[in-house]
Symmetry: C2
Subunit: 138 residues, 2 copies
Amino acid sequence: MRLSTKGQYAVRAMVVLAMHGGAGPVSLRFIAEREDISEQYLEQIFIGLKKAQLVKGVRGASGGYTLAKPSQLMTSGDIVRAVEGPIKIVDCEHNGTCERVQSCVTRELWERVSAAMSQVLDATTLADLVLRAGEKIN
Amino acid sequence: MRLSTKGQYAVRAMVVLAMHGGAGPVSLRFIAEREDISEQYLEQIFIGLKKAQLVKGVRGASGGYTLAKPSQLMTSGDIVRAVEGPIKIVDCEHNGTCERVQSCVTRELWERVSAAMSQVLDATTLADLVLRAGEKIN
DNA sequence: AAAAACCCGAGAGAATCGCTCGGGTTTAAT
DNA sequence: ATTAAACCCGAGCGATTCTCTCGGGTTTTT
């Protein structure tokens, strides 16, 4: 029951991106050094972020990535989902109907837990995280 | 980001145990058949539950396991923690102080997520689950 | 005595994680 | 035009974790 590094790295990387605001694209190399993450691993992560249309890639020299929309309109939930898939703590296939009733009582529990996680993640925008980072520095 | 089967099985097994109330110990074989879980895997799970003093083992023929305390006094959080360890979605070692400030902004986020999970799990007693199982059957 | 059941450590097969490798292609700068 | 920076992408690899299985116990009831 733990978030893989992929999700953690993705959020950290997006914070870096957001902090550099509109000042041109940010290269993966920069993020990699700043956050001490493998550059090639970051590439994989950004493929997911790009597919989810959270970032835009700028190719060529002095390229990099920029946010695809303002940080107020992006939540940590969006970011985590982009690289890790849907936020659910167990995957139950029998949707709605189980053979064993006992099993499905617990399913409701896991769904409530997943919902609680989503609620926190979806309530926190990227802008919120940047704001807090700013507060910490000062 | 998913709960291992160990945690899921543990809760399901405890529901079975609770539903058999005070009517003597319940054998692992019974639970294993009822819930379609490997009996030997269940043994491992019950070692954890026993260490956490949630169940009591009764050795010998016609033995099995009983709840160590009333189901109202046991939460799904207790059960999950017993077999899976502390409920936290990332493990950050730097407690309180990080070198990179950016990293630690996100740490607060993971802590809030973990807290939200705990809240749901700790608010649901074993008795609650049994009650719902009863409702489902009728 | 025999059988039922818990107790327990070790390990095996598969899946997942956390990357790395080796190639591209695109574009800015010189 | 050339070079170099940077994104793009598929494949694979070592380590870890998960999900059990195996092979032995020991305890207690019948």
